[in-house]
Symmetry: C2
Subunit: 592 residues, 2 copies
């Protein structure tokens, strides 16, 4: 089994010391009670659930997997009880609107809790993750009646949600959707079509499943402008919320896939199923993006969660496993060999993981806090700034943190060697499970295109200024401090590369979108590595008063490692971006 202890101290440090939660989030309307005195015990409680309930189920869930039997999906042994405990603990509605039985707590807290859940059991975490996205979409785009009827049951966890987008002929290109919705003359719609790759499309954890389905009305214009969103419950619901008859939606099978075996990936057939329009006719893409953005941040957190577990497991193994001697002479001469953590190459792997995971958590929590500000802050200008920041960071976090999840799982496997490739330590499952996060809710390549194609030009670079202005101010504020000089120096260099790349892409991309497309993935990574460097620098600022303590020394050592051993990659990324589209587009398709 993988090693995992909920990193409560670390999360608390990030929230309260690095990011100033008490002055940034607590003063927001409705969060007055959500201070450290509430947040810390809540995190402890969630951590306990993760360590004691979800983690022990993870391996069995993988081995047993979901089973598809006569149209029904059975989740692995123990998942139903764990889900009930999760719902009973109030975790389903943690950040949902109290007007509809949600707990109304900050997204920031929700992010931290989701991280721990995904660390302990990624396949489990997918179920409530999707419910949250569905609730967001209904909250923002549903009618008051829809909200009153459905949101309380999503908040309580009695029902779960899905996102039904993909069809056999279309994933990324939703304009190709063929699922049809025909008005039934009674204000509802008859939905017909087949959706594939639907996470949690069918299962036995909850009494009802609310499918949010993209489909086209009869008069729909071609392409994505003709897409509408429909709520299609698995079981139809009376006005009082009581369950009535089964709707015309059924699971046609589940996928045999590399990992997340305990999360059913379903083919869903809609056969004149009763559906309810959410948002306006042909307004489905907007509503879909609400769900999608929430889902993308949730998936980013999945990457972070797996990365943390991989890191902890590798460290535990490296301290326990004894092979060879330290190159500087035996560290424990009385034993037959030294623990492998003495070896520089093993340390390189562990520090590459840890230095990135810690910085990734800062970015994730920071974005969570801005998400809270974007919805709650009384000042509309501040809300707008926060919203811009979240919009900018969403593709970056989705791609980079899920890359990090896979990277850390693989690095952990390398630390464990053969013991990582076999099942025992749980690392091979992490590698298999983490991999999906780079793919679903828009592949990481699509995130990069979102960044260069939508976020970069938006408001003539307005979103970028939300990042660069405070970054410049941060560097200016701290660069004279000799204690911080190595951090600010490295950060400044990366920021200059990022700015240079941004200008080049913006300039070239204006006349030739292929130039932006060719640079997209490298640019996203350059952005992410720079943002992580900033996160490290902020961490060091926060920890300077404790620079003499082991905790402070550790943080400074991690930042130093990051700046000297990880951040240099920005130079290579910059060079690749500057090389332009020529080498990418030159070859004819036939010649591949």
């Amino acid at each position: 089994m993988a090693t995992y202890k909920a990193p409560l101290d670390e999360i608390g440090f990030v929230l309260f010391d690095v990011l100033g939660y008490e002055t940034a989030v607590r003063p927001l309307p409705g969060f007055g009670e959500a201070g450290a005195d509430l947040v810390r015990p809540a995190l402890e409680e969630a951590g306990r659930l993760c360590e004691e309930v979800l983690l022990p189920l993870n391996r069995g869930g993988d081995e047993e997997g979901c089973r598809f039997e006569n149209g029904v999906v059975r989740t692995p042994d123990g998942f139903k009880a764990a889900y009930d405990a999760f719902a009973a603990g109030g975790w389903s509605g943690l950040a949902l609107d109290p007007a509809h039985r949600g707990q109304g707590l900050p997204r920031t807290l929700h992010f931290a809790v989701m991280e721990m859940i995904c660390s302990a059991n990624l396949a489990f975490g997918i179920y409530p993750g999707l419910s949250h996205g569905a609730a967001d979409a209904l909250h923002l785009h549903g009618t008051e009646d829809q909200k009153a009827l459905y949101l309380p049951r999503l908040a309580s966890g009695e029902w779960t949600g899905t996102m039904c987008l993909t069809e056999p002929q279309c994933g990324t290109d939703l304009g190709l959707i063929r699922t049809k919705a025909v008005p039934d003359g009674e204000g509802a719609y008859s939905v017909t079509g087949t959706k594939i790759f639907i996470s949690c499309g069918e299962h036995d954890l909850a009494d009802n499943i609310l499918h949010l389905v993209l489909a086209k009305l009869p008069d729909a214009p071609a392409g994505t402008r003709g897409i509408s969103l429909f709520l299609v419950p698995k079981v139809l619901v009376g006005d009082d919320g009581s369950l009535s008859e089964r709707n015309g939606v059924r699971c046609g099978g589940i996928e045999n896939k590399m990992g997340i075996h305990a999360s059913a990936t379903c083919t869903m057939h809609f056969d004149e199923a009763k559906g309810f329009l959410v948002g306006g006719a042909h307004g489905g893409m907007k509503a879909m993006f609400t769900m999608m953005n929430a889902a993308r941040l949730a998936v980013a957190i999945q990457g972070l969660g797996v990365a943390e577990t991989a890191c902890q497991t590798a460290v535990a193994y490296a301290k326990e496993r004894r092979q060879g001697r330290a190159l500087s002479g035996a560290k424990e001469p009385e034993a037959a060999a030294d623990p492998i953590i003495v070896h520089p190459d093993v340390r390189r792997m562990l520090l590459t993981m840890r230095s990135q995971v810690d910085a990734a958590r800062v970015l994730a929590c920071w974005t969570g806090m801005e998400l809270d500000a974007a919805t709650r802050h009384p000042d509309p200008e501040r809300r707008k700034r926060a919203d811009d920041f979240v919009a900018l960071m969403t593709p970056i976090l989705k791609a980079h943190l899920t890359d990090l999840g896979t990277e850390c799982a693989n690095t952990a496997m390398q630390v464990l060697g053969g013991h990582g490739y076999v099942r025992e330590w749980g690392v091979e499952q992490l590698v298999r499970d983490a991999r999906i996060a780079q793919i679903y809710e828009g592949t990481n390549g699509i995130q990069a295109l979102d960044l260069v194609g939508r976020k970069l030009p938006q408001g003539t670079g307005r979103l970028l200024r939300r990042f660069f202005h405070p970054l410049d101010a941060f560097i200016k504020e701290h660069e004279a401090d000799p204690c911080l000089a190595p951090m600010t120096g490295a950060l400044k260099k990366a920021a200059e590369r990022l700015r240079g790349a941004t200008l080049t892409i913006a300039r070239k991309g204006l006349s030739d979108p292929e130039e932006a497309g060719a640079a997209a993935s490298d640019y996203l990574r350059l952005f992410a590595l720079t943002a992580m460097a900033w996160a490290h620098a902020k961490t060091v600022v926060a920890v300077l008063p404790r620079a003499g303590e082991p905790f402070g020394q550790r943080k400074i050592a991690l930042a130093t490692f990051y700046m000297t051993k990880v951040l240099p990659e920005t130079g290579a990324l910059f060079a690749r971006i500057m090389a332009g589209k020529g080498p990418v587009m030159g070859l004819e398709a036939e010649a591949f």
Copy 2:
């Protein structure tokens, strides 16, 4: 199922056009008949076996896996028949000594054949790969009687071989071995102990299995200097080669692992098994390294093989799958969408794979040719140079080509998106199968330590000169050619970085081995990327006369992509190496 066509034209081009096989290998003693007129049909025949027999078994082999039943290992359906066809075709003994019924053909050809086998079915390829290593060890270190008795049956494929090194408490650190060998008074030894992670330790493909087992004699000095190598047949063999009784060796179970399910990874119990000393008493490490070096090159080829299949599958998908429109305007407006190969980010992924796979093949074949020269060349000085080159390249190829295998399998999955994560296209199996190659026969971190710790200082840099001198000569010869300037310029820059890093590591490492250890993995990658750049430049030189044809344009485009989009990573690696051990060794073990 994965897409795979044996790349016969490409292999032929590398051997005959880029590397000059006809003048470099054919003139070697014993290879007079092994010219293009023999090699090309042999490759075709092997390609047919791979496409028609091994590839179709790959998915079923993964799904069914090996089964352990009452001490016996059953390979998946069809494997026995495929192995028989393989042996009947004479492939088992392709490069083995004709004095012992081998075909006596060049290693170069053997490498090319192994690549295709591993492309088609990696799990299958492990069986003959290990037999080859065992045959090498017996060939070089066995007595004449041992060779006469055992080699012909390995060459015919009637029997297979294993390498039994790892024990529960020791993998990398073989000095910790506990398996004992006691003289039985009749010239043989009684071997007792438990070995784990033994690939093909037990199976039903062949009548006998020859285990080559590391063990310690009663009077053995501590550590690796006290290790001896023993041949322990599964079934004891009469002087005439007839099988007699079962030996005291049995399989205790097989591992449940991430991939290569059709290759049994066994726990082997030796209980007073009869063993025969191979090489001198306490001379086991030397004999082991013979096997190990052969195995490391074989594993490098595994990485290359998987990378090729991943690349072919991704290209096939990218040409077939239609999503979205080219950013420059619809390429096929009559269809609902363009094939995704029009998208710059998809092309980036495909070219990153293809440009590296093609260069990796050049390096692998080149090393194969040097291996042939090292054993066959009449001039001892030339043999020595070749031997040095192979010794230098072995850890580089093992690590870099297996990294490439995993990288390409994952990149292919990213091209396929959700369709890559499910079983159908065979890509998720490639990801799971490829991953082991970075671990076994010495993790890639161990390869890096071998490079900086053994190969770099050997003969005060003699091995390095085998690389740098001809590289410098190559650059000098071609840098004035305006057609080659972009290639030689980029190559020269990378070579300068490599030389600078080499000098720094050599200088610092002399007084502080931890400095070398901290730089090892980055250095190996810097070396490999530079060597691949050289391979591209050599390819372009070979293809210049065809620069106007599609084939030539393709090769130049791939080299251009590599130089501008892949090679810049050398800058980041150089910066990391120069940052030294400080950031790696600073943190106390407890603080991780």
